[in-house]
């Protein structure tokens, strides 16, 4: 598996009234093509900051290289899906939000645009809502459209910052399966930040756990048979181990 992302000695500090506070300290990481990397960690450990550095939204020390190019600013080869439901442009319909992304990728033919929109929306079960404006959709639907929009760009890597965090359990489960199927079928490279151990175990082909010092303390391939369900052998043990690590009992 070839590497799509390489991070060397990544350090990120924020200025605070008491001086500079370190969030990420000399972090090293490589991500292979088509990997689904789930990042777990306590609040404030730097998970989102790591994603924002990779996306190019933050200045940083060290080196981040995506597909051979050093990350200096945001770019369509690293698409971010935010936690915020309101990331779709409210002045565009569902299909126009996706068409906009497709046009940025260089697609100009109207028939091809329509076909691609149809395919992307069918994949997330929202084709019949294509004429709706974002405010007419539920939070889960908006997130599905946001995922489709990110995929429309066909980026090297999709960065997802707790996109399902504020959803109810049923919607979250449905969206997890939806994302799982898309990522495995289309071999999308994903970095997915979450607080939720179940989510990390279900979605990730690889799981990272960060501690509150902004260091990676666990970096391993998901050992469970996929697709992972609560009834999958070893699920309970893995959940329990990750939980203990997150609580600082085990490193």
């Amino acid at each position: 598996m070839s590497d799509i992302l390489s991070i060397v000695d990544l350090t990120k500090q924020y200025a605070s009234p008491r001086g500079k506070a370190g969030v990420l300290n000399n972090l090293n990481l490589t991500v292979g093509k088509s990997e689904f990397v789930c990042i777990l960690g306590p609040s404030g450990c730097g998970k989102s900051t790591l994603l924002r550095c990779i996306a190019g939204f933050e200045d940083y020390q060290g080196e981040i290289v995506c597909n051979g190019h050093k990350v200096k600013k945001p770019s369509i080869d690293r698409m971010m899906v935010f936690q915020d439901y309101n990331q779709l442009f409210p002045w565009k319909t569902v299909e126009d939000n996706i068409k906009y992304a497709l046009k940025l990728r260089g697609e100009k033919d109207s028939d091809a645009l329509a076909r691609k929109v149809e395919e992307l929306l069918h994949n997330v079960g929202l084709y019949e809502y294509r004429k709706f404006y974002p405010h007419e959709l539920s939070g889960g639907m908006k997130q599905r459209v946001a995922i489709s929009r990110a995929r429309a760009i066909n980026p090297e890597i999709v960065l997802m910052d707790e996109p399902f965090a504020a959803l109810d359990a049923i919607t979250r489960n449905r969206l997890q399966w939806n994302l799982y199927e898309i990522s495995r079928r289309e071999k999308v490279t994903v970095m997915f930040v979450t607080h939720n151990i179940q989510e990390a175990i279900t979605l990730g082909s690889r799981v990272l756990i960060m501690n509150s010092n902004g260091e990676i303390v666990v970096d391993e391939q998901n050992p469970l048979q996929q697709p992972v369900r609560p009834s999958t052998p070893g699920y309970g043990e893995l959940w329990d181990r990750y939980s203990r690590i997150l609580q600082g009992e085990e490193g």
């Binding site: 939204f57 369509i76 442009f89 405010h135 959709l137």
Partner: protein, 271 residues
Amino acid sequence: MTGWPVSNKFLSSKKQYTGIAVQLVFLLVCGIAWQWYATSRNIMGFPPLDVIVSHLVDSFTSPRQPILVYMAHSFLLIVEGMFIGAVAAVILSGLSVLNNVIGAIYKLLISIFDLLPGVALLPILMITIGANDMSILILVIHSVLWPMSRYIMDGFRMIPKTYIEVGKNFGLGMYRMLVDVYIPASFANVLSGLKVGWARAWRGLISAEMIFGAAQSAGIGVYINNARTIWLDYPGVYGAIFLIILVGVIVEYGFFHVIECRTVKKWGMIK
């Protein structure tokens, strides 16, 4: 899921019709009170509604210049001034986003000129340009440009960070960012600025025309002034005022309200 927007729309239109009905009843009550007061007191400067309406209808075909010609003159001036002012406001506010130095200077200019009533500029305009339509046009532009710029700049500041980051993530340059993200995301503010600009421009224009009196300008303000001082036609003064109000209402509901419904309301950006 599909049900709630429909029922919401139904509730919203029901509320809207109730609002319109209440407004019409209120106007009717005001009209009846006016008619009763004017006919019972018989004050020269306070004519009954039927007399005002009759004078207004006559003024449409008056042997002196019909009132609609005066109105059209003022209206064309204000449309021209509003167009120039609105385009300038969008361009200058946009440049302020693209360049920090322009932004700092423009903020200062807004602070200075937005507080300056257009009529206060009239003496200077009359000295430098003369009592003509060009002075009024500049006054209208002044009335639109600054409040609209202030609203647009406030709108830019209030754009959710996520939209801007999505735009950056799409790799948009500053120009595309302005056109594709900043302006639509702050369109509610653009419209509010336009409304405030329209109101200020309309008031400024009428005031200026009345101050110019029978000068070279031939707008509705001049008509009111002439009706009061030359023709001694007090119902004509009221008729002209009603016409001004009518134009204001038509612009509010026939233009701004329609744009609002087709944009920011449809997009769910305002209720």
